[in-house]
């Protein structure tokens, strides 16, 4: 069995990684690994099988290693197949990418502002202002603190956040907070509890007197281009 490398540079790279190989009774680590791989992949020759049987006669753990590697390989193939499940749905029919799923997501992002504002208004209409709800629910605990203008550095995070929402709504900068929080990560803790990282989404509003559209030059660099704003035109970004 040969594991020669024809490219000297690649050979050097491989040899550096060979340091991790473990010496194994009967066959050198690499040869044993390659032999097991060939058996798993169904490309073992009769000579390979002879070597394999001889190694197994000398060290029965070769069989266990073969079984374990084969099982891992099957599980990995299953997982890769699962990852590639929708790959065949991406086409380039007529030289144009059929990117419906991607466009659908981008559409959601581009409509986000309007949709989010509408959702916030609906939310207020049905359930009232979430800030007021929070304040009234916690009135027994926080009564007097926010109304008296508690200093932010003395407030609890929730109290400070509510003050920001309240002040923002008064001057029109804050439209409201989205009712749903986006979970980024959950992490099981050793004591049986679960740590949850999440995003709170606040919809803000800004009035601007000038705007730029970002375009890309032939090198792919982003270039800001001023947009002419006119009250008579339906200017979209």
């Amino acid at each position: 069995m040969s594991t020669d490398h024809t490219n000297p540079n690649q050979s050097q790279e491989i040899n550096q990684n060979e340091q991790a190989s473990q010496p194994v009774v009967g066959l050198p680590g690499d040869e044993r690994d390659v032999l097991i791989s060939r058996v798993i992949d169904g490309v073992a020759t009769s000579e390979d099988w002879k070597l394999f049987r001889a190694a197994a006669a000398h060290d029965a753990s070769v069989w266990a290693e073969l079984a374990e590697t084969q099982q891992l390989n099957e599980m990995l193939s299953t997982a890769v197949d699962r990852q590639l499940a929708h790959v065949d749905e991406v086409h380039v029919s007529g030289g144009v990418v059929d990117d419906q799923p991607l466009r659908a997501r981008l559409d959601i992002v581009s409509r986000w502002g309007g949709w989010a504002a509408a959702a916030a208004i609906l939310f207020f209409w049905f359930f009232g202002n979430p800030v007021q709800i929070t304040q009234s629910n916690n009135s027994s605990v926080t009564a007097g603190l926010i109304d008296t203008g508690m200093l932010l550095d003395q407030a609890q995070p929730d109290q400070a956040f509510n003050q920001y929402l309240d002040a923002g709504q008064r001057n029109g900068q804050v439209i409201g907070e989205m009712p749903e929080h986006i979970v980024i990560e959950t992490r099981p803790m050793a004591d049986g509890t679960i740590e949850v990282l999440y995003l709170r989404q606040v919809i803000e509003r800004q009035i601007i007197d000038h705007a730029y559209r970002e375009i890309f030059d032939e090198s792919g660099n982003a270039v800001p281009v001023p947009i002419e704003l006119s009250p008579n035109l339906d200017t979209r970004f």
């Binding site: 990684n17 680590g29 690994d33 590697t69 991406v90 799923p101």
Partner: protein, 210 residues
């Protein structure tokens, strides 16, 4: 047309602007392109989105390709660059987020996404995540070999490496995978033992927190 084999005349037709040839070509390569993306992309990124990015670049830039023989290595580079670009974006997002919540000192390791943690209970997914932690030189051939069993020769042509090197890397990659999983199991066992030492038996039995 046999999967994975790239017909040079098809590549030439696609370069010349034949959209049917491009369609056929894409159909024959998209699985290995997706596997290259799997090997290089961040865990959180959606594979289908990245594959669409690569497909778009193929449509846009195919006519710039001068040599049909260079097609596979060119497309592989396009895929790797797309995955790495996504990796840079993900890193930037994570950094800004961690700074925002002030968590960078507490959690120095990069955690897998919430979805992946849930799927982590699935044994085959655990093996897949372990394979993703292999050094890239081993990860690519090991994953490609799982892609409907690409032959060593096909993988060698794609990665521009001799067949013997591919064979050795797959064999070593699989051994490293065994070792990674064995180490993970050992660590999990140690954590359990540590937990049992710290938490009184009565609390463990009732499932209560310490």
């Amino acid at each position: 047309m046999e999967e994975y084999w790239v017909n040079e005349s098809l590549v030439e037709s696609a370069i010349a602007g034949d959209s049917d040839a491009l369609d056929l070509l894409w159909t024959s390569v998209r699985r290995w392109v997706a596997t290259i993306l799997l090997a290089h992309k961040p865990n959180e990124t959606d594979l289908d989105d990245l594959l669409q990015v690569v497909a778009m670049q193929l449509c846009r830039n195919m006519s710039d390709l001068r040599d049909a023989k260079a097609f596979k290595s060119w497309l592989r580079t396009v895929a790797i660059n797309a995955a790495r670009e996504e990796g840079r974006k993900t890193t930037r997002r994570k950094r800004s987020m961690l700074r925002f919540v002030g968590m960078d000192q507490q959690h120095k390791s990069t955690p897998a996404s919430a979805v992946e943690r849930v799927e982590d209970s699935d044994e085959s997914n655990r093996v897949y995540l372990a394979a993703k932690s292999l050094p890239i030189g081993y990860r690519e051939p090991v994953l490609l070999r799982c892609t409907r069993s690409m032959s060593y020769q096909q993988i060698g042509e794609l990665l521009d490496l001799p067949v013997t090197t591919i064979e050795t890397r797959i064999a070593r990659g699989r051994r490293m995978l065994r070792e990674i999983l064995a180490q993970q199991e050992k660590q999990a066992e140690n954590r359990k033992l540590e937990y049992r030492k710290q938490v009184p038996f009565a609390q463990q039995a009732s499932g209560g927190a310490p």
